[in-house]
Amino acid sequence: MEQKIMARGFEAIGWGALAADCQLFAGCPTGPDDEAFAWLAREFPENGRHFVRASSEVSAINIAYGGASAGGRAMVVVASAGWGLIQETMSHLVNAFLPVVVVLIQRGGPGAGSLRHAQMDYLAVTRDAGQGCYRVISLAPASVQETYEATQLAFHLADKWCNPVIIATDAIVAGMTEPLALKTIKFDPLPEKDWAVKGRGHQPDGIRRFLSSAQGFIPTRDFPTYLSFLKGLNEKVLKMREEEIRYESYELEDAKIVLVAYGYSARVCQEALLMARAEGIKAGLVKLVTLWPFPVDVLKKKARQGAKFLTVEDGLGGLREDVMLAVEGQAEVETVDALDRNEPGAGGAIYPGKVLEKMKKWEVPKVGSA
């Protein structure tokens, strides 16, 4: 029977992790992720799972690294302040083909920034923030239910691709209390983690396993040379980019202005969409579910139809660059960003009225006219 509860976004992360049979959580409380931390601290030990309070984000991500190497499902929760500390290990996880789920609860930046929400880490999440060239799938939930489902999907995709997966949420979506339908998602089965390190005696074939984050430099079973490793990594990233694009579109068919947004600003855009349509403006929305891979084709199609684009993101620019790359110069791209917040304090946010105001800058034929 499907159980419905009222839950916060913070808790939905934990419920999702339980549903995905995550065995190990490591974390170091930094505002605003501490409430997720409190729920996990209470619930994980109760459900026979490991909750490790790390001394800092550096040790947290490395504890998760160990959990993944042993074949377990491991997760960390970080806030923007502390995100910079895990990038070395993220890069090592990519090289070693190890699955870890990283939940980033964005807050104002840069540096210590603020304790409130923000969406300023787009480029850091969607590009290789650590050393070397790589990409990591990043999911952007916009509600408590989506957070719950994104966490389960993240564990599946991490194991499927043997690569870390990031869930990029913000303190508004994570802080909200909404109804949550607890239902475990059934994914298609994945191969056994035969590569996991368990102690030679525990390996069914008695052969030792060897994991390294210097694949290519140290010859490993799959990659005897560096070039073979680079080819393998390149193929994997291109396949991920092709197969794992997820987005939702709203009233795109006849849209002359296309809003592009994710997380809490996507909900702001849904409201702005209603207001625009009520005033006869032909607007549509592309709501990113995966930040990377980016849904290039849907935007390219609309660009060819002559649509204009308005990115809505509570940051200092980032999403705009990917939209510009997708439309390849065939469309105008304007932005609503953190400078359009409604009030100067750290709690300021982007409101639908501001999005509508910027949409009206373009004279767009009204509904009903040609």
């Binding site: 505002g31 409430e35 931390f37």
Partner: protein, 247 residues
């Protein structure tokens, strides 16, 4: 009738009409007073740099009349090590960090500043927990566990005095509390000695102050002080642990 001020706000405190950004009974204010009064009495406010750590004590540097810096969580000691080299012996570097800042996130900078014998004074306000992030229990420094936690303390506290005493670069280590006026005076004495050691260039020194955090401990302010004197001190004894050594 002559009315003469005996004592009141520390002179180096920038006047604030509203209360400090701390919970009722939190003793970061008293720890700050101990430092500021010492700096006043030694007459070194012109050459002192105050480095605040992360957590609840983050606002302190912006509220006092000293050259100050709000350092990222755990990094005040590294930043202090660099500044001490730069400005040399006649500048006094004081860091004010809570136990999460110095003993969890900032373990590496703290231990290696001590190993290098950097002549800075670390004031470690140990209130056995994370305040500003929702009152988690800290890994270090809180033995035994405050009463409301029925589970045994899964984490072993770091007794920083024992850990650092062995390092040659360390010249002075002391631990006090501010759980009474006499304790306050005693702790101020430790801080005065530590700063004097720093000014003599005698290497790394640290003064740990056990401070109350009633909100997280789920105790009244009075019970918190009692708990410090009886339970916390049992695990973290008071006194001077090292006096001498260093370069």
């Amino acid at each position: 009738m002559v009315k003469k001020v005996v004592c009141g706000k520390p002179r180096l405190w920038r006047y604030r009409s509203t209360s400090l950004p701390f919970c009722p009974g939190c003793q970061h204010g008293v720890g700050a007073r101990a430092v500021l009064e010492t700096v006043e009495e030694l007459g070194i406010e012109g050459k002192t740099i105050f480095l605040g750590g992360g957590g609840c004590a983050y606002p302190l540097p912006s509220l006092l009349d000293l050259d100050a810096m709000q350092c990222p969580n755990g990094r005040a000691t590294s930043i202090g090590s660099a500044m001490k080299r730069l400005h040399g012996g006649e500048t006094v570097i004081i860091t004010y960090q809570d136990d999460n800042d110095a003993l969890a996130v900032g373990t590496e900078p703290l231990i290696h500043a001590a190993l290098r014998g950097d002549a800075i004074t670390v004031i470690l306000a140990n209130n056995a927990g994370y305040g500003s992030t929702g009152w988690q229990m800290a890994s270090p420094g809180d033995t035994p566990v405050p009463p409301e936690m029925d589970k045994p303390n899964p984490l072993f506290p770091i007794n920083i005095m024992e850990l650092l005493a062995e390092f040659e670069g360390v010249s002075y280590l002391a631990r006090g509390t501010v759980s009474s006026a006499n304790d306050f005076e005693e702790t101020k004495g430790y801080i005065k000695t530590a700063i004097a050691k720093q000014m003599a260039g005698a290497g790394f020194n640290l003064v740990e102050i056990l401070t109350a955090c009633p909100a997280r401990w789920h105790l009244t302010p009075q019970e918190s002080l009692k708990w410090i004197r009886e339970e916390m001190v049992a695990g973290l004894p008071l006194g001077e642990f090292k006096n001498g050594g260093g370069n």
